[in-house]
Amino acid sequence: MDDRDLVGRARRGDPEAFTQLMMQYQVPLYNMALRMVGGPDDAADIAQEAFTRAWQKIRTLRDAPFKSWLFQIAANLCYDHFRRGRRYGEMPDEESNKVIGLGILTPDPQERAEASERNRLVRESIEALDHDMRLAIILRDVNGMAYDEIAGVLGVPLGTVKSRIARARAQVQEHLQRYPDFFPSTREDAHAE
């Protein structure tokens, strides 16, 4: 069953249909918020509020894709979060928070530690971005959205999306290059593809 069927049922007040939409999007939505605001609790608050608002406003959704609409709600909540003056929280640590990811299991403790450190550096580099660039690159590289989807979420032209993602990547790259071991064999890896 695709989104349109579920959205149609949800618009008629079917909570089970909306629940299925929630289940489908809660992980990507939560992770978008998590990478934006940093703290797991704040991210969960934002995801919860986004779902609640979406459910309450679902009857106003016409032709727009549900996914873009939902993420737009969450993105606005992230900006509200920043406007309220909340500081960017401490970036979550998957070890201490017992959050387990969808990555590949790295059984070796040393490799896991290295992966954790790499992830920490990446999170730190994302944190250093301004909010607009941060959101654009999260939607692209965390959530895997296409540019037109991102444009729909952000309400900006495609060219702006393209620019924000490119500049964000350049800044993250610059940040990560401060750590000499981060890109040990960039050229060789790329050419091996």
Binding site: L102, V142, A166
Partner: protein
């Protein structure tokens, strides 16, 4: 005099980044590709952007730290529901959804509510069905003796994917009725998954629109499924505990598609 081959204009940062994402139109993509092929500097720029994107994409998708709820009806004023636990009454019918999307099989992640184990790590292979279960009707749930006899546990229901009838989810328990202090054994079988694929599964015990999550291990499940035992006294069931419940298993693929929902009636006696 023949003109020398002309290398296309050096691409901008935006073009290289969009090239990486396959977000350029055909002409621009061809132009960038041609230039990059003959320009080591731009190859290096592109490699750097690619490695950066890969590093970001390698961040783990993390599990929400709590359940998400919605009010019973859209566009209705409401009070925030407790994140976990039960609220009595029909007027507050809420849906509590939890997804145990965890992928890495770390030890020590079991909750006090259950003692589930992934079959792929613990179950004896001989306990698995010798052949796929009989297909149910498309998108329908089946309760029958054939399913029950092939499932390890006696009380069983199977649902199939209407788009791929060979893909099925079987939910079974060792009984249909338990005492409030009893132990319920639940087994999930995920049939028809492509080799190497896993699925995300949530298991909930629901009554009157409220549900509690039953943990299902620490990661997506593969075709070998899952078996877990749950001490009912340890679950945050409503009071009075005795009543008619529905055990719900929801399976979907990591891309968010192909959800299957199996339901089993469960009675808990006081």
């Amino acid at each position: 005099m023949p003109s020398e081959p002309r290398i296309p204009t050096e691409p901008t940062l935006e073009e290289l980044s969009a090239y990486l994402d396959h977000e350029l139109d055909d002409d621009a993509r061809a132009r960038v590709a041609e230039h990059v092929a003959g320009c080591p500097d731009c190859q290096a720029r592109l490699d750097g952007l690619r490695q950066t994107a890969y590093a970001i994409r390698a961040l783990p998708m993390e599990t929400p730290t709590r359940t998400f709820t919605i009010p019973a009806k859209p566009r209705e004023s409401f009070r925030w529901a407790p994140v976990a636990g039960w609220i009595g009454g029909v007027a507050a019918a809420m849906l509590i959804i939890v997804v145990g999307v965890q992928n890495l099989h770390f030890p020590g992640t079991a909750t006090t509510a259950g003692e589930g184990t992934a079959l792929h790590s613990n179950a004896a292979p001989a306990a698995r069905p010798a052949a796929p279960l009989a297909q149910s009707g498309a998108g329908t749930q089946m309760y029958d003796s054939q399913t029950a006899s092939k499932a390890v546990l006696s009380n069983a229901a199977t649902v199939s994917d209407p788009r791929n009838p060979s893909r099925m989810l079987t939910l079974s328990t060792n009984a249909a009725s338990y005492s409030s202090t009893g132990t319920m054994t639940v087994e999930l079988r995920l049939l028809g998954l492509p080799p190497g694929r896993t699925a995300l599964v949530s298991l909930l015990l629901e009554r009157n629109g409220f549900a509690v999550l039953l943990p299902t291990g620490s990661g997506p499940l593969d075709a070998s499924g899952y078996r877990g035992t749950y001490q009912l006294a340890n679950l945050a069931l409503p009071h009075p505990v005795a009543g008619s419940y529905t055990l719900i298993a929801i399976e979907w693929l990591p891309d968010g598609n192909g959800e299957l929902i199996a339901r089993l009636p469960i009675t808990i006696q006081g």
